[in-house]
């Protein structure tokens, strides 16, 4: 492992300053960063440990919603009274051991799990190379949307749920609607979000609403596994009729993917299994599967249907 300077900042300002140059990496629990460093995919000159900054570890109830500190653990979030999609997404992630240390900020900012990205022997597009090896290689767990340049899927469980509920990501510099937080490879192939050097996620704000929500994921294994498809759905119901809907797909694109196609099918309709099914199919209609991941196009609608039904019924 490359030697690095270990910085224990006493404040956000110190942390931001220490992280301002390109060779620095921010660390919260370190679940993902240490993995990357062991694989030598990340070789920082400097590791800035956010845990030494006070605060950011609480979920604060405000009069119109919640402020979730960036260092709140997934276990805390899973046990909280936030909307159902968010607690379910946090509770499904990883393993109990990891959920007890992994943070909300870290979960949003973790790097992709793509096996070419994680392999030091492959200088892929995302690591400054010229090729996405997944496109014509092994891609069963890769993206079926926005996969023309780089086919990673965004690994966060929590992000689709936060997106479905219109959360806001707050940094030491600005507030960013979560809809604008993640970036596609066609815009930036070397990062997954809009954060600049020295910018630190400090909290996530979720507004209270009458929307009801649900999160569902499918994976190959019940023990520790990443989702092959996931879906977060928020619905504003009027009796049995869907007045408004936000449908987000996870594990199928380089970003958590809002599906307006799915939403359009639902809005204004009585929620039935048939309409949920139709929304599921509409959401996956535009998919462009690679050689080995067409099954996501089948599993995805079934999973989304279940998410829609459990959000609305």
């Amino acid at each position: 492992m490359k030697n690095f300077e270990y910085v224990l900042p006493g404040s956000l300002e110190e942390a931001s300053k220490a992280a301002a140059d390109g060779g620095a990496k921010l660390k919260a629990a370190g679940v993902d960063l240490l993995d990357e460093m062991k694989n030598t995919v990340a070789t920082p000159d400097k590791v800035v440990n956010l845990l030494s900054v006070g605060g950011m570890r609480e979920i604060v109830r405000t009069k119109d919603g919640w402020r979730v500190g960036a260092l709140v653990t997934l276990a805390q979030l899973a046990d909280s009274r936030l909307p159902a999609a968010i607690t379910a997404a946090a509770g499904e992630a990883a393993t109990p051991q990891i959920r007890n240390v992994a943070t909300v900020g870290g979960n949003l900012c973790q790097r992709p799990r793509c096996w070419y990205y994680r392999n030091r022997a492959y200088a892929c597009l995302r690591k400054g190379g010229t090729v996405c090896y997944a496109l014509e290689g092994e891609n069963r767990y890769h993206a079926i949307f926005h996969n023309d340049a780089c086919a990673i899927v965004h690994p966060s469980n929590v992000a689709p749920a936060l997106l479905a509920l219109g959360a806001t990501v707050v940094t030491n510099r600005r507030s960013i609607p979560i809809e604008e937080f993640f970036v596609l490879p066609s815009d930036h192939v070397d990062r997954e979000n809009v954060l600049e050097d020295g910018e630190i996620v400090t909290e996530v704000q979720v507004a209270q609403s009458r929307w009801s929500s649900a999160y569902r994921e499918e994976r190959e294994r019940d023990s520790f596994d990443w989702a092959t498809v996931s879906a977060a759905v928020a619905l504003r119901m009027d009796g049995a009729v869907v007045k408004d809907a936000r449908v987000v797909l996870g594990a199928v694109a380089p970003v958590p993917l809002r599906s307006k196609e799915g939403e359009r099918v639902l809005i204004g309709q009585r929620l039935t299994e048939k309409i949920a099914q139709a929304a599921g199919e509409a959401a996956f209609k535009g998919a462009t599967p690679l050689s080995d991941n067409a099954y996501k196009r089948l599993v995805g609608p079934a999973n989304l249907k279940r998410a829609i039904l459990s959000a609305g019924l």
């Binding site: 492959y122 290689g137 092994e138 079934a302």
Partner: protein, 725 residues
């Protein structure tokens, strides 16, 4: 030698046979021998050491002045080393020595192929040094699948050698199979596929090598064959075998992958020689997956005929499989049932992947996946219940008894769908079954021709120590030997201490073919039998004199007795049977299969310790579920890199994936040796995948003929495809 009569068989089916037992041996424990210890629940002697982390495995060995060696593995297959520069690596802090396996110009056939090893003061320094080696690779075109390697245009993995090699010894032609099939009432054809599974032992392969001041060599090795490692190490170090000692106190799994010294052992010896320090070399998980062994894949084309009354008329089987750069990709079928006419051809196909090694019942989980699914398909073709069909085609009463017991425990008659598939809701439930077999009766000598022996030392304080060199790769050998000796001496198992895992002890067996327990157990009983006689003679044991009192009368420090293993003599059955019944749930919308329950009936001669017996069954079933649903080595099609050489994307069943398992230890008196023991390690993992696949068919009405049965294959099968990838 003396002829005796002994009762063999199982409860409700006991008969008397005559066997000739060797001189000075006790009569075999038979169906009616009253036993106090044998057959009861005895907890593993070293259990507390293991669960508290005090058991020392090879990776835990730390010697004064010891260096750590790391291997540089090729990150790609089908490559060549254009340039190799170790100068920067050797100048790094802590680096003490390098040993090169493959230099410039040499081909690197597969991901993991060893290039060199570097020893340094610390593990981190060794890792950094290996990462600092500069290699320029030249890329060739890899073949990573059987299909690709069989194309006429495919590049040869070994220059000048065909990729496809027939295993000629496996060829069978009996009684005109084509005619038998053609004339049968129903003809069934199906192709089954199985994936490559890596051994994935919890403890990686590793060796610690130390040259002693007297010129001898001591190795600590994570191995399942101490004497093979000794022989390999002696050759490598150019020493006589007597100057090499190999120790393996505890081993965290082997499954067939730990028979040889291996490149890590060679590296440890060479670097120890070069540096004058003890050296430890343990594989990384990437090294484990890519070089530590695997179960070959298979494509099995089956064609069979069935008569109108549900009898198999004949079968034709052609199999292809890849063991990477190794051969031996066979499939163990047909078996168990009566096949009046058989055609069989087997081919091993070379690909750019790490070498296959023996893996828990080599050829069997793959062969039985095809065989037992095909049996179900034949039963369906003639409208028979799969259990009834099996009974009509097998006259072994042991199978019949075990099938009936398993069927009753799972509720076969009441709970199986009489019409496969159907029912409301997305989640369908089904039951399936499959059978197994194994061949191991234990042996009296190893492949070096050396006879197995057990020494027992009884000291004046009444302590008893049982000594044998065999390693225990997790089966519970210590506990079995303690049970056997305790039974013979009239003591409790916890009063016996057992010392194993050291070539300085009396000859032990390699852990292959499920042979250690049935080979060494009878030698232990012989030793105990003789010891008891001796204690009786010299110290008056019995007649109101207890063991402790008798031992106090021993002259000198201790009594030492050695018992040898004799050749097997009688038999009721030459194989073990066994069967598994499985309940699954399948979600037809998402393609997810969940195993809900497994009833596993297994015999292996006399049950010595019921707890370790059941533990073997549960372990075998768990590994079988993992093989059926999850595990799969995935190679990059362009560079032959295993992209999932970790435990994140190489998926193994975890706690949440393991259902209720009901192990049933089926006691059979077999009179093969004085303990009546047979081998158990392998058979319980053989039928699991097939039983699950048959249950899946019963649940959803379509067949998934390809392992692992992942959601994509289930959905493909439901959509009308073959369940192939």
């Amino acid at each position: 030698m003396g002829k005796i009569k002994t009762k063999v068989g199982f409860r409700g089916n006991v008969k008397e046979i005559e066997v000739t037992i060797p001189d000075h041996e006790p009569a075999p424990w038979d169906a009616e021998t009253p036993l106090k210890v044998v057959g009861t629940d005895v907890p593993r002697l070293e259990a507390s050491l293991k669960v508290t982390g005090r058991a020392k495995y090879t990776a835990d060995i730390h010697l004064h002045g010891m260096l750590i060696a790391k291997i540089l593995h090729a990150p790609y297959g089908a490559a060549r080393i254009k340039k190799l520069d170790v100068s920067a690596a050797e100048a790094m802090p802590g680096v003490r020595g390098t040993t090169v396996f493959k230099g410039e110009g040499r081909p690197l056939l597969y991901h993991g192929d060893e290039i060199l090893a570097i020893a340094a003061d610390t593990e981190e320094q060794a890792e950094d040094a290996v990462a600092a080696v500069k290699v320029d690779y030249e890329f060739g075109t890899p073949v990573t699948t059987v299909e690709a390697a069989m194309k006429a245009s495919a590049p040869s993995v070994f220059e000048g050698k065909e990729n496809v090699q027939e295993n000629k010894k496996a060829r069978i032609r009996q009684n005109d199979p084509e005619k038998a099939i053609q004339e049968a009432a129903k003809i069934i054809e199906a192709t089954y596929e199985t994936q490559v599974q890596t051994h994935s032992c919890l403890e990686p392969h590793g060796v610690v090598a130390r040259f002693n001041e007297d010129g001898s060599l001591t190795l600590w090795a994570s191995t399942q064959a101490l004497f093979q490692v000794r022989s390999d190490a002696a050759a490598q170090a150019k020493l006589p075998q007597q100057k090499v000692r190999v120790i393996a106190e505890h081993v965290g799994g082997g499954f067939g992958s730990k028979f040889a010294l291996g490149p890590f052992g060679i590296a440890a010896i060479e670097l120890a020689k070069k540096t004058g320090h003890p050296v430890k070399c343990v594989l990384t998980r990437e090294g484990e997956h890519t070089t530590g062994g695997n179960r070959p894949s298979s494509i099995q084309k089956m064609r069979g005929g069935v008569t109108r009354d549900g009898k198999i008329a004949g079968v034709s089987v052609t199999t292809h499989g890849t063991g990477g750069v190794a051969g031996g990709a066979g499939c163990a079928n047909p078996a168990v049932y009566h096949f009046p006419a058989v055609h069989k051809e087997e081919y091993s196909v070379y690909t750019h992947a790490g070498p296959a090694m023996a893996f828990r019942a080599p050829g069997h989980p793959q062969g039985f996946f095809a065989l037992e699914c095909f049996i179900d398909e034949m039963a369906e073709a003639v409208g028979l219940d799969p259990l009834e069909f099996r009974k009509r085609n097998c006259d072994n009463e042991l199978y019949h008894a075990e099938w009936d017991l398993g069927a009753q425990k799972i509720g076969w008659k009441e709970r199986r769908n009489t019409v496969a598939g159907g029912g409301p809701g997305a989640v369908k439930r089904g039951l399936g079954m499959a059978s197994t077999l194994w061949y191991q009766k234990g042996g009296w000598k190893d492949w070096f021709g050396q006879r197995y022996a057990v020494e027992i030392v009884a000291t004046r304080d009444g302590a008893v120590e049982v000594r044998n060199a065999s390693q225990d790769i997790g089966t519970g050998l210590r506990t079995l030997l303690a049970c056997i000796v305790a039974e013979e001496l009239g003591l409790r198992p916890e009063e016996i201490s057992v010392k194993i895992g050291d070539t300085d002890l009396p000859r032990g067996a390699p852990s292959g073919g499920s042979q250690v327990s049935p080979s060494i157990g009878p030698a232990a009983r012989n030793a105990a039998f003789q010891l008891k006689k001796k204690v009786r003679e010299v110290a008056g044991l019995g007649d109101g004199v207890t063991w402790k009192e008798a031992c106090r009368r021993i002259e000198g420090e201790a009594l030492r007795v050695t018992g040898e293993r004799s050749p097997n003599y009688g038999e009721y059955k030459d194989k073990v049977a066994g069967c598994q019944f499985v309940e699954v749930e399948v979600n037809v919308e998402t393609g997810r299969i969940r195993v809900k329950k497994v009833v596993a009936v297994q015999d292996a001669g006399k049950v010595i310790d019921k707890l370790t017996f059941e533990s073997q069954i549960v372990g075998g079933v768990t590994q079988g579920i993992s093989y059926a649903l999850f595990e799969n080595r995935i190679l990059d099609r362009r560079r032959a890199t295993q992209v999932n050489a970790d435990f994140i994307s190489y998926k193994i069943a975890g706690a949440a994936d393991v259902p209720e398992i009901v192990p049933i230890a089926f006691d059979v008196a077999n009179a093969v040796n004085n303990c009546g023991m047979m081998g158990l390690g392998e058979p319980p993992t053989i039928p699991t995948a097939a039983a699950i696949a048959n249950a899946v068919h019963n649940a959803i009405g379509v067949r998934v003929r390809s392992l692992p049965m992942t959601p994509d294959k289930v959905l493909t099968a439901l959509a009308g495809g073959e369940g192939r990838k």
